[in-house]
Symmetry: C2
Subunit: 362 residues, 2 copies
């Protein structure tokens, strides 16, 4: 959490000038600070991470079908359907849980496919090199949902710099947050300009409307909170890293627990801590652990269950109805994410890790 006086210091000028939104100086400042941190060209702030996907998809001219993964939060696929697109769900890699480049390649002969949406699951990068190769050779734009990512690097390069654009979430639960908020990150001037117009109702100038747009703007209140949070980021991250280290040390000993790995080459991602627990005799051990943790007041998450490929309100909007996604189905029954935020003390982390093991062994 940021210091209250730091937040107020950032916000006070906006109250004085009565300029509370519409690309005011505070959000412009935050955009610059984040662009510097990510070593990227453009960070375009928007209302939240879901709106970021809607706007980025429009900015990249996604039409009809978009290849994506079912192993993600409802928002990624939901944003596509919300704006009338038709998601094509393909399977994920068994280890890293990110969209499988082979599976993506296998569906690209359909001329209606106009875009690819990869998701960096729990902050673990997609196989960005393989996906870039496919995207480039087929000339199909590549968008990444980086809601689980902040300033992590992959092979020395900020992860948000891969693909034609990356969407980010600054939701309250993220390591960096603006209460509600998000961004579209891109190195393309053209894409960034389109995002700016799309998030402001399609208005290009006082007398000209060049796109069909919405209100996707972040208010100065949220941007000021973001600036204050940037100043508190080091502390938030130190705490998260300590918690991750404790979880790792304690839980890696248990033979039934598989800690979801990071792709080698990734540095600085501590957005989520995800473990996998086996399905035994048809019953997911994960579900048992989830419930027992809840009974002692620990709120873990069954990320991502139910799997979007099996959620009828979603699939009824897709032209394809049956999906061959065994890795995703399995992960959906096995993964549990543990509490991870800056308010967790070392003793809490030890208590949680021990509670997880007790629940498994009980």
């Amino acid at each position: 959490m940021p210091r209250l006086d730091d937040f107020m210091g950032h916000l006070a000028p906006a109250l004085g000038s009565r300029r509370l939104t519409n690309g005011g100086p505070i959000s412009a400042d935050l955009e610059l600070r984040l662009a510097e941190l990510f070593r990227t060209r453009y960070v375009n702030l928007v209302s939240n991470g879901t709106v970021a996907i809607e706007i980025a998809a429009k900015a990249l001219n996604f039409r009809r079908k978009v290849v994506t993964t079912p192993f993600t939060f409802a928002a990624s696929v939901g944003a596509l359907i919300w704006i009338g697109l038709d998601p094509v769900l393909v399977d994920i890699e068994e280890d890293y849980l990110t969209i499988s480049p082979d599976a993506v390649a296998s569906v690209l002969d359909d001329d209606d496919v106009s875009g690819i949406l990869g998701v960096h699951v729990y902050g673990c990068p997609c196989d960005v090199d393989a996906l870039s190769a496919i995207s480039d050779s087929r000339r199909i734009p590549m968008l990444y949902d980086g809601a689980h990512v902040f300033d992590a690097t992959y092979n020395g390069r900020p992860l948000v710099n891969y693909g034609d654009a990356t969407t980010m979430s600054f939701h309250a639960t993220k390591q960096f947050n603006t209460g509600e908020g998000g961004a579209v990150v891109t190195s393309s001037l053209e894409v960034n300009s389109r995002v700016s117009i799309l998030k402001n109702f399609g208005i290009e100038s006082e007398d000209s409307i060049s796109q069909v747009g919405i209100n996707g703007k972040m208010s100065e209140l949220n941007a000021a909170f973001g600036l204050a949070n940037l100043n508190a980021l080091f502390e938030e991250r130190s705490r998260r890293s300590a918690v991750v280290q404790i979880y790792r040390d304690v839980l890696s000993e248990h033979k039934k627990i598989r800690i979801v790995p990071q792709r080698p080459g990734t540095v600085g991602s501590s957005s989520y801590f995800a473990i996998r627990l086996p399905v035994e005799n048809g019953f997911p051990l994960r579900d048992k652990v989830y419930l027992q943790l809840r009974d002692v007041g620990i709120y873990s998450r069954k990320y991502f269950y139910p799997l979007i490929a099996d959620v009828e309100p979603y699939t009824q909007h897709m032209s394809q109805k049956i999906f061959d996604v065994p890795n995703a189905r399995r992960a959906s029954m096995e993964v549990l994410t543990l509490p991870l935020h800056g308010g967790i003390a070392n003793e809490d982390a030890n208590f949680i890790a021990k509670a997880v093991m007790d629940a498994i062994d009980e």
Copy 2:
């Protein structure tokens, strides 16, 4: 503007509890306060007034065609197209500039029409009685865009209580604001429940996703700002009323100026001050006045120009391409809205009114 210490007093508990969004106690409190003020059953806070229209349209099961007005801000029609609906634009009433009930009735034989979206332009109510009669007899849901409305009443009843739902905007420029924000107001438990689910990704419970949804939530930061603004509302409105009175007194004398009227029976709406200036020899006097005001640092608005019925990026998404909307076209060339906010002193208002007359007479 609210007092800084009042805002911080409302926000402090959220920082303490780390609960910054997802229907926290501050937004719940603001929803109750607003529902009380509007004498309505449900006020459901969302990210902004455009998202409010998207979500309300889905909650009311709008499909395919929706009858609406071209004489509105880009957001009303844009929100419909954004989610894949097909707006049918009909003309407005000559005097009050709101959607014409006769024009609405004339297009309802098309079976694809699934909803009506009226706009209370500049806070002037639509002919809600005639529209309700049409909506009821044809069983087509009626949504109002109340972005220009706050707690005004019409024939003694809060205006937001007409129709199946009303969307509101709490954008920074409104008399009541949350920086960015909006709401869906309804007296239907079912519609309100659907809004709550749609704005939270379609998630009904931990294990159940019952709709395709998005993130339409307001953060606790914005809600706290709203609570503080409610406390400053009396002052904001007194100032606006004084400014309106000065504009009215000074400008009603000028024979070329028509002040856009309020529908009789309306009380308490001072969201906008709109005047009409004639088109002379094919040249809109309004445009000349707009430019001359700008030259002396006064920023009036050509609301609503360009007219959505003539904006190609919008009409290309509509199945109908040519619209018979003479009243809307004329208003689009004649209307100018003058600056109106709580920061305008009486002498500023007199200066602006005089500048308008000078620009006309010059």
